[in-house]
């Protein structure tokens, strides 16, 4: 165990899986000597060579399709799109090919590929480099969707994603790359589909993902100062979604706030809210609240971008409307 950043944890997960299984390889733009746009694959090219850390042309359909085709042929690719925003040119290869192959072929294919993509605003990268698109991925049968918030989770979940026999979309947050936490040096896995209660509380459940876990924890501190005890639940994967942990928390607290950075309308929080309105309505003593980005593209200018990203006060105030 030692302190590592989220980025280092991801890098270590990749390295350890590549050492363990020579079917694992990395493919993407500038993932080689350059080390990836954000540095996640740094050092892997030197260690494993270009045979296993492959720089591609700018050709995202081909990247995702190559990963899918190679996975169906017995390998375990870890593909990177530089920004999740680029999925628009490659969506077909993900949702119609990689994710449907097994079903369409009557169970004959296995597509153990991982697609890593950084999400999120906060670095002034504007509308086409800052989105959070997990809601789209959640809606694709055959796909798993992982969205870690801490260095510890990042490493364990990435290793699980790579070992999973299904296509997995692995969504990192740019602003989390530098966040530090305790991370075991050895390899370990975290089950996909198991939420983590990041803070226990009694008065309100805050389900938060990715960067918003940290924002929610800060809001919980602030709420505690006012005598409101908030429980922060991090689903960690959105497909499968750990309904049991969320429902148990809501049963205990009787109130639910959902926080994510994606825009609210038809966003990931809609599913969580709907699920609770279906399966846990009787637990609620107050309306559900969603805290999310406003329904607009991500703006460039810092004051706009800051206003865009849900903040501690947004979560705090949302809780206060029901507690």
């Amino acid at each position: 165990m030692s302190k590592k950043t989220y980025l280092q944890a991801l890098n270590e997960a990749l390295r350890q899986e590549m050492e363990r299984d020579d079917k694992v390889f990395i493919i993407g733009e500038d993932v080689g000597r350059f080390g990836g746009c954000f540095g996640v694959t740094q050092g892997l090219f030197t260690q494993f060579g270009e045979g296993r850390v492959m720089d591609t042309p700018i050709t995202e359909s081909a990247i995702v399709g190559t990963a899918a085709g190679a996975a169906a042929s017995g390998l375990r690719p870890v593909a990177e799109l530089m920004f999740v925003d680029f999925i628009g040119v490659a969506m077909d290869q993900l949702f119609n090919q990689a994710c449907k192959m097994r079903f369409m072929f009557g169970g004959k294919a296995k597509v153990p590929m991982t697609l890593r993509m950084p999400q999120g605003a906060g670095i002034g990268a504007a509308a086409q480099h800052s989105q959070s698109l997990e809601a789209w991925f959640m809606h694709i049968p055959g796909l798993k969707v992982v969205i870690p918030s801490t260095p510890y989770d990042a490493k364990g979940l990435l290793i699980s994603a790579i070992r999973d026999d299904n296509p997995v979309v692995f969504l990192e947050h740019k602003l989390l790359y530098g966040v530090e936490g305790e991370v075991p040096d050895e390899s370990y896995t975290i089950d996909l589909g198991k939420a983590d209660v990041k803070r226990e509380g009694a008065d309100v459940t805050i389900v938060a993902t990715s960067l918003m876990v940290h924002t929610a924890l800060a809001a919980a501190e602030k709420l505690a100062a006012e005598g409101i005890s908030a429980e922060v639940v991090d689903p960690r994967s959105l497909q499968p979604l750990d309904k049991a942990t969320i429902l148990a928390s809501v049963e205990k607290t009787h109130a639910l706030v959902i926080a994510h950075e994606a825009v609210g309308f038809a966003g990931p929080g809609a599913e969580i809210a709907a699920m609770v309105a279906e399966e846990g309505l009787e637990f609620l003593d107050a309306p559900i609240r969603r805290v999310a980005a406003p329904f607009c593209p991500v703006p460039f200018s810092p004051p706009l971008e800051q206003a865009y990203i849900p903040g501690v006060d947004d979560i705090f105030n949302a809780v206060k409307t029901i507690r």
């Binding site: 390889f25 045979g51 591609t56 042309p57 050709t59 359909s61 081909a62 995702v64 399709g65 190559t66 990963a67 899918a68 085709g69 190679a70 996975a71 169906a72 042929s73 017995g74 390998l75 690719p77 040119v89 077909d92 290869q93 119609n96 090919q97 192959m101 097994r102 079903f103 369409m104 072929f105 009557g106 169970g107 004959k108 294919a109 296995k110 597509v111 153990p112 049968p141 055959g142 798993k144 026999d165 299904n166």
Partner: protein, 319 residues
């Protein structure tokens, strides 16, 4: 490389098998007994047959929406195909895929595809896997004239060449993408000319001459196997039927069809085999009878098979 007798006869049989299998489908579709879309390959049999005749089971293909010919040429089981097209539980995909989504990984068939241009990127992955694992296998990617304009296809051509992957692109130029004639979908006459844009060999062959296809693809496969990278083989051919069964084909004229029917690849091959003495008239008849029986058996198998049950719906979504 010119094929030995066994290969010659096998190619003749394969073309006949495709023709008779699909002629049966045509009948069944007309009779309302096949659900969904059926895109027939009738008239184009020489392409798949010539392209696959030199491949082993370790070699791979990616196919298209018009995939029956590719599958049969790569050794696909008629019974399992027919059952799948009939939506039966015993079919290749347990009835989940249908005509457009048949695969047989054991035979190196990575799947038909309902997305035009969808196969190119997947073929890259398959070819990369062979290179990565040093298996020596080659992947053949079938795609149409229409598909050649799709971005995914062009990305695949580029990356295959940049990475010198063991891949052969076989373009089936039947002159149309549904109703759109080639001259409206692109300014070039020969799709093979696009090979130069990626610095790979590009060859035009008579797609109704199975030997010409065989030769060109075999040459390209050899290059690919020797690590010399991909090639693009354009096979000029024609589909006799509409784009899908039910298409009235108002966008083309009868003369064109007649011209091409006169170039039917099967009798052309038959004549050659008879003339050269490789086959006798009675061999030809025996082959036909045998394949007719195979098709009949496939139909019987399909018709005798159960439909899947709704309980199976949520199976095979995740591994």
């Amino acid at each position: 490389m010119s094929p030995d007798k066994k290969t010659l006869v096998k190619m003749y049989e394969t073309m006949s098998r495709i023709r008779l299998f699909e002629t049966k489908l045509q009948e069944f579709f007309a009779a309302g007994r096949i659900p969904g879309f059926v895109h027939l390959y009738i008239g184009e049999e020489a392409v798949a047959t010539g392209a696959c005749a030199g491949l082993t089971n370790a070699d791979k293909i990616t196919s298209t929406h018009r995939g029956h010919g590719h599958l049969i040429a790569k050794g696909g089981d008629l019974k399992l195909m027919m059952a799948e097209i009939f939506g039966r539980k015993t079919g290749y995909c347990k009835g989940k895929g249908g005509s457009m989504h048949i695969a047989d990984f054991d035979l190196g068939i990575l799947g038909a595809n309902g997305i035009v241009g969808g196969g190119g990127p997947l073929a890259l992955g398959s070819a990369l896997a062979s290179k990565y694992s040093k298996t020596n296998a080659v992947t053949v990617c079938f795609f149409g004239d229409g598909a050649s304009n799709q971005g995914t296809t062009q990305e695949a051509l580029n990356m295959a060449s940049a990475w010198k992957l063991p891949l052969v692109f076989v373009n089936e130029n039947n002159g149309y993408g549904i109703s759109c004639p080639q001259c409206k979908s692109m300014a070039v006459t020969d799709i093979a000319d696009r090979a130069a844009a990626y610095d790979m060999p590009g060859v035009v062959v008579d797609g109704n001459d199975v030997l010409a296809v065989f030769e060109a693809v075999t040459e390209a496969v050899k290059r690919a196997r020797h690590g010399e990278g991909p090639s693009l083989i354009e096979c000029k051919t024609y589909r006799w039927r509409g784009h899908f069964e039910g298409d009235a084909c108002t966008y083309r004229c009868d003369e064109e069809l007649k011209e091409w029917m006169a170039k039917d690849p099967i009798p052309r091959m038959e004549e050659k085999l008879l003339e050269s003495g490789v086959l006798k008239k009675k061999d030809v008849e025996a082959i036909r009878a045998r394949i007719e029986q195979e098709v009949k058996d496939a139909v019987d198998f399909a018709e005798g098979s159960p439909l899947p049950s709704p309980a199976e719906l949520l199976e095979d979504v995740y591994a």
